[in-house]
């Protein structure tokens, strides 16, 4: 549905916020017309704007909102949400700060979905969708989910923890109308694959099934029967336990698939089986996304060639392909928009991308060997430049490398000025331009000056305050900034806080930013979702001051065991209408 930027005004025309009660409708129910119009609004931003117009509009909006998006589960409480929005059918909740992905947040920090689910069970019996990211989810919570919502359809768990395959059993057993079960990047207690066999024999509504993150073997017969029954299945991502010949049988059952995650791509196949697999793939005319390919050996890559022409997203980030075999494969993928690879493909492989994928918009290059202190293989600045030359539509990059130059980055952004997401990780902390030995300031200066649409930036390498002066001065659309081992003084962080009007998320680690920097953002933090600062030079006293002066911010500090009493080793600041957390564990100090 299109969002209507100019919704028709109701007969009680919106007036300024000073209008008296008598000119506004006293009824708690919205005007029919306004309600109908507002029900077309899907964007949260639009809905927020609408709700601020006047009381009538606020009411109309809250009665017509069905999708709830909460970017920080602690910014609001289940009670507040339940009171304001009576008709929610879809909830997205995000929990822990992003640096928890890198083990910077201890276990049992929080973001448990349980109390939310208890509330939802009470007030949203018609809940259909739940999407969680970086939340803790227990088996008990999954049990509630499975049994309290008869119409429940879609469950998506990304980077979540705390549950086991027992919880999945509950979901499979009880959710009669399930269309989506999507588990990503999730490290759970995988007792066995028996959960998959819990889908009833007459159950056939799945459209999305992703269990690639799970390790244990599922009952293949049960899976095959399930796939046959689910005629609307469009996304199937299996785990490593599924072999090539099993995959072939699944593809025969589901040639309509649009997204496929294969299992292990390494098996001794008989010649006949090879041909079967090849034709199974070529029969999948709707395939747009391909992932998995664990342990793929180059011998079997050709079975994919027929399916490659229609691919728009190829995720090879679990497959350690080398440049030649990768180059051969990528030549068959002219329609790629998104590509994820391991750096084993090296610069040569990226050159092949540049020449084969003119429509490429997103590239992510992950390190196969991120802790290799000696060889530093992988990709260099040359590969990145090569892609930028061939792919002018590139706007999203995540690039892990060991060396970079200012000149290369300048060339890259000249070739691709439309970057919205520029995430460069030079894996040696504080590494300068390896040719000139200068800081990488000019590189990121070029990025922010040229890429006016930049929304997300991750910086790395040796950086002085100059980088942050550039960012503050030019990155006017920047919403998310990640900084590590960079900067020279408080001035750096201050420039960013003062200069980036759209900044929502700022995450900093191991930088020489201290109290003055922290406190310079006093008024800014309420306009942001959150600030994370770890291993910087911030003291508890400064955090206390921040907490005192800004009561609508939650200021949380975690200390490392060996630091002295005054240091605030990890600081997490976020706006909240719910007040301080009530579930903070002992190691989280709320100031």
């Amino acid at each position: 549905m299109q969002t209507d930027p100019n919704p028709k005004k109701s007969k009680d025309s919106p007036s300024n916020s000073d209008s008296t009660e008598s000119t506004q409708s006293a009824s708690p129910f919205p005007d029919d017309v306004l309600g109908k119009v507002l029900s077309f609004l899907n964007s949260d931003k639009d809905r927020s704007s609408v709700s601020l117009v006047c009381k009538d509009w606020y009411n109309a909006e809250r009665w017509t909102r069905t999708k709830l998006f909460i970017g920080n589960c602690y910014s609001v409480s289940p009670e507040i949400v339940a009171t304001r929005f009576p008709k929610i059918t879809s909830v997205t909740l995000k929990g822990k700060p992003r640096f928890s992905d890198f083990n910077l947040v201890p276990q049992n920090w929080g973001a448990d979905v349980h109390y939310w689910l208890v509330m939802f069970a009470k007030v949203y019996p018609f809940l259909e969708e739940l999407r969680l990211k970086r939340m803790t989810v227990s088996d008990e919570s999954l049990e509630i989910l499975a049994t309290a919502f008869p119409g429940f359809r879609a469950l998506s768990l990304m980077s979540c923890d705390g549950f086991s395959t027992d919880g999945l059993k509950s979901v499979a057993t009880h959710c009669r109308n399930l269309t989506e079960l999507d588990i990503q990047d999730t490290d759970i207690d995988d007792f066995n694959g028996g959960w998959l066999s819990c889908f009833p024999e007459n159950f056939g509504s799945l459209e999305v099934l992703n269990f690639a993150s799970l390790d244990s073997e599922v009952n293949f017969d049960a899976l095959e029967r399930l796939v046959s029954r689910c005629k609307s299945l469009r996304v199937l991502k299996v785990n490593k336990s599924i072999t090539l010949d099993q995959l072939q049988r699944l593809l025969l059952r589901a040639p309509q698939l649009m997204e496929l995650g294969t299992g292990s791509f390494q098996q001794e196949l008989l010649p006949g089986q090879f041909g079967d697999l090849e034709s199974a793939f070529s029969n999948c005319k709707n395939l747009r996304t391909l992932s998995g390919l664990w342990e793929v050996t180059s011998v079997y890559l050709p079975v994919l060639y027929a399916a490659c022409t229609s691919l728009t997203f190829l995720n090879l980030s679990y497959a350690a392909l080398r440049s030649v075999e990768f180059g051969n494969l990528i030549a068959y993928c002219p329609n790629l928009r998104r590509l994820w690879v391991l750096d084993t493909v090296e610069d040569k492989g990226l050159e092949a991308v540049g020449s084969s994928c003119p429509l490429l918009e997103e590239l992510r290059v992950f390190p196969a060997d991120p802790f290799d202190q000696q060889l530093h293989r992988g990709v260099t600045e040359l590969g990145f430049v090569a892609v930028s030359r061939g792919c002018s539509k590139l706007h999203y990059v995540l690039y892990f490398c060991w060396q970079m130059t200012n000149a290369a980055v300048a060339t890259i952004v000249q070739n691709c000025p439309n970057f919205t997401h520029f995430r460069l990780c030079i894996m040696n902390p504080g590494r300068p331009d390896y040719l000139t030995n200068e800081p990488m300031d000019e590189a990121f200066g070029a990025v922010v000056k040229t890429c006016t649409k930049l929304q997300r930036l991750s910086v790395s390498g040796l950086l002085t305050d100059l980088t942050f002066e550039y960012i503050g001065k030019h990155a006017k659309n920047l919403e998310t900034l990640s900084v590590a081992f960079a900067g020279s003084s408080d001035l750096g962080m201050q420039c960013v806080l003062e200069g980036c009007p759209k900044l929502r998320k700022l995450e900093i680690r191991d930088c020489p930013f201290g109290n003055a920097a922290l406190l310079s953002g006093l008024e800014k933090y309420e306009k942001m979702r959150s600030l994370w600062m770890s291993s910087c030079n911030v003291t508890i006293t400064a955090c206390q001051q921040l907490a005192r002066e800004m009561p609508r911010l939650n200021v949380e500090v975690m200390k490392d065991k060996e630091s002295d009493d005054s240091q605030a080793d990890k600081v997490y600041v976020y706006r909240s209408v719910a007040g301080p957390r009530r579930d903070a564990p002992p190691f989280v100090l709320t100031l």
Binding site: F99, D101, F102, N103, L104, V105, P106, Q107, N108, S159, D185, T186, D187, S213, E295, S317, Y318, A320, R322, L342, F366, P367, A368, D369, P370, F371, D372, Q373, L375, R377, F400, C425, M427, N428, P429, S482, A484, R509, D510, S535, D560, K561, E562, D569
Partner: protein, 181 residues
């Protein structure tokens, strides 16, 4: 708490006979360059091969120190799911080392940057699926280490094993040549 993960590997002498170089698990060119600088495993164990001890299988310890620079937690910024894959990838197809360090295995709520005193070493025996872990910091001599390893692999035939390892420079050394420490 940090764990420094080292990886030990046990290989069969028959592999030695074929000029098996522990490092060369694949045919990658780049490794050849580096391997030529290292004393080939064969040379090191010449004397052992010539000893007429039936079924004597050297215990090969392929230790590759995988300590991060400055013991940095959470760097490079790769999530634990992907780290598992890196680990798996190396385990199967590369030289069998370069295990990611501390934070992959630290699930004890620490997350902080402080060092611990433990030095965990993963021991893998060729042909045996399950690796064992031993904490080097608990041992003060090669003998106690060997005894512990023997006990851990009690199910397998470990008689007559010798301990060998590859140091940071890539040289093969027999345990006991250098003093413990």
């Amino acid at each position: 708490m940090e764990e420094m993960e080292l990886q030990l590997k046990l290989a069969l002498s028959s592999n030695l006979d074929e000029g098996f170089d522990l490092n060369d698990h694949n045919e990658e060119q780049e490794y050849d360059r580096l391997m030529k600088k290292k004393r080939c495993f064969d040379e090191t164990f010449e004397e052992i091969k010539n000893v007429q001890v039936p079924r004597t299988l050297p215990l090969l310890d392929h230790i590759d120190l995988c300590e991060e620079e400055d013991g940095v937690v959470g760097w490079p910024p790769i999530n634990s799911w992907r780290k598992k894959i890196c680990h798996h990838y190396h385990h199967n197809s590369r030289r069998g080392c370069t295990t990611p360090t501390n934070y992959v295995t630290v699930k004890n709520g620490c997350g902080g940057g402080s060092r611990s005193n433990s030095m965990y070493v993963k021991v893998k025996m060729e042909g045996v699926g399950i690796a064992r872990k031993v904490d080097l910091s608990r041992h003060h001599s090669y003998q106690t280490l060997i005894d512990t390893l023997m006990a851990m692999f009690a199910n397998e035939k470990v008689q007559g094993y010798k301990l060998a390892y590859q140091d940071k420079e890539g040289d093969w050394l027999l345990a006991g040549d250098m003093p413990w420490g």
